[in-house]
Amino acid sequence: MAITEAMWVHGHAMRVEYPDRLSSTWRAGFYVRTVGKPNSTNWFHFAVPTTVIVKNKRQMVDSVMLRFRAGSNHASVTNVHVYDGPTRIATHDGLDISPSGFEFHRFNVAGKPDVLWGIGISIGVKFSGTTDAQNTLEFSSAGCDFNLFETVRLHFKVLTAPDIAIDTMLDSMRQVYEPAGFRVVRASDENLNLPDLNVVDVGQCRRGQTTDEQDTLFANRNNAGANDVVVYFVDATSPPYNGCAAHPTGQPGAVVASGATRWTLGHEVGHVLGLSHVNNNDQLMTGNGTSSITNPPPDLATSEITTMRNSNLTINP
């Protein structure tokens, strides 16, 4: 997928949060060189000039990039946080990156949010060496890629929280959908107190066939537009399924049972977008159960991506 916009700033632009924790800062023509005091941490910040709208299209944040090197493995990047104005839109923690030569590193922004206010990249660093040479980090550039994705808008209606956190299910779904060019937007969340529907009768779970209980449940579409997909998290279905994507006409959605796997959400929304089962455990739509998926994250086939693009539930940017 082609990048629609890319913005970079030179290392000179870097701002240091705690200057007193550095032995020195040197802005040369090539880069900014920082030498940290022994056993110190710090945050370095890059403000990336951001064209939020290009040709009347609001851009979506794809990923941010850094190009830097370290004097030793005692000087490292430990965190990369991405902000759009005041909102943190991505966190990469627990890093330990100390390239000996200038290296390019890309950090994904999951969810591919619309950019509104301007991108800031905050970099956590650690210096644990004893000499200036060991505690040196040099940044030559920082940047951000923007893109335009087809979008699936999801609304979550929770009757029972699933065993696997909804955040995990959504993150897993994005791992499959985003490389295929689909952005998954969590448009709203709502808790529903409907104990009578917490185990919902889904019949044989056939496309185009719904029970009275499905009809009643799927009528709950607060905040959802006609082409938005509503996912109902229930305790269980009757009969027992991990999920079921059969939905009333004009009310696209699916139910996901509390015992579902991390991939069930993406699988059921795949059905809603028109996909059928395949006999391949490397793929999201495997008919052998998403608990059997090998080589995670699972894939979407080219033909499946075409089907999804043709769905009126994937919205062109």
Binding site: V199, P240, Y241, N242, G243, G259, S292
Partner: protein, 150 residues
Amino acid sequence: MAMTLEQLRILLSNEEPDYIKIAASLDASDTAHIKQLAADQDEMLASKAVYLASLAVDPTASDIVIDAADSDRKRIKISAASANANLSDSKKNRVAEKLIDCDDVSIQKLVVRSLSKPSAAIKTKLRKLSTDSSSQVVRNLCTDKLKTTP
């Protein structure tokens, strides 16, 4: 046709198993495998095996559903309640006796809905639920069931 345990596990691991199709391919020699899967640590798999047992042609497979009604695991109880609709009248009442007092509206709903010829003891419980249940749906189901069953 007898299946291996692994074949049955794969079929039931499907997000949305085709129970009717699977049941049609089973014979009495598969019941032991269904029973084993109904006790599996994976609750989703176990609950699916319990439901499948209710559709198996082997009459002894329904004992898996009756036993599931005593389970400590809520999903297994739910599955037994759901599966009860497929059992014979006498066995439905046995499952219902185990589950109808369960303090869970969802399970009560499934059990009441599954009944076709409730025993005298079950009818007594239906009368009580028809006035005492916290759920309007369950109260209505009980009232209707008492009117429409012999």
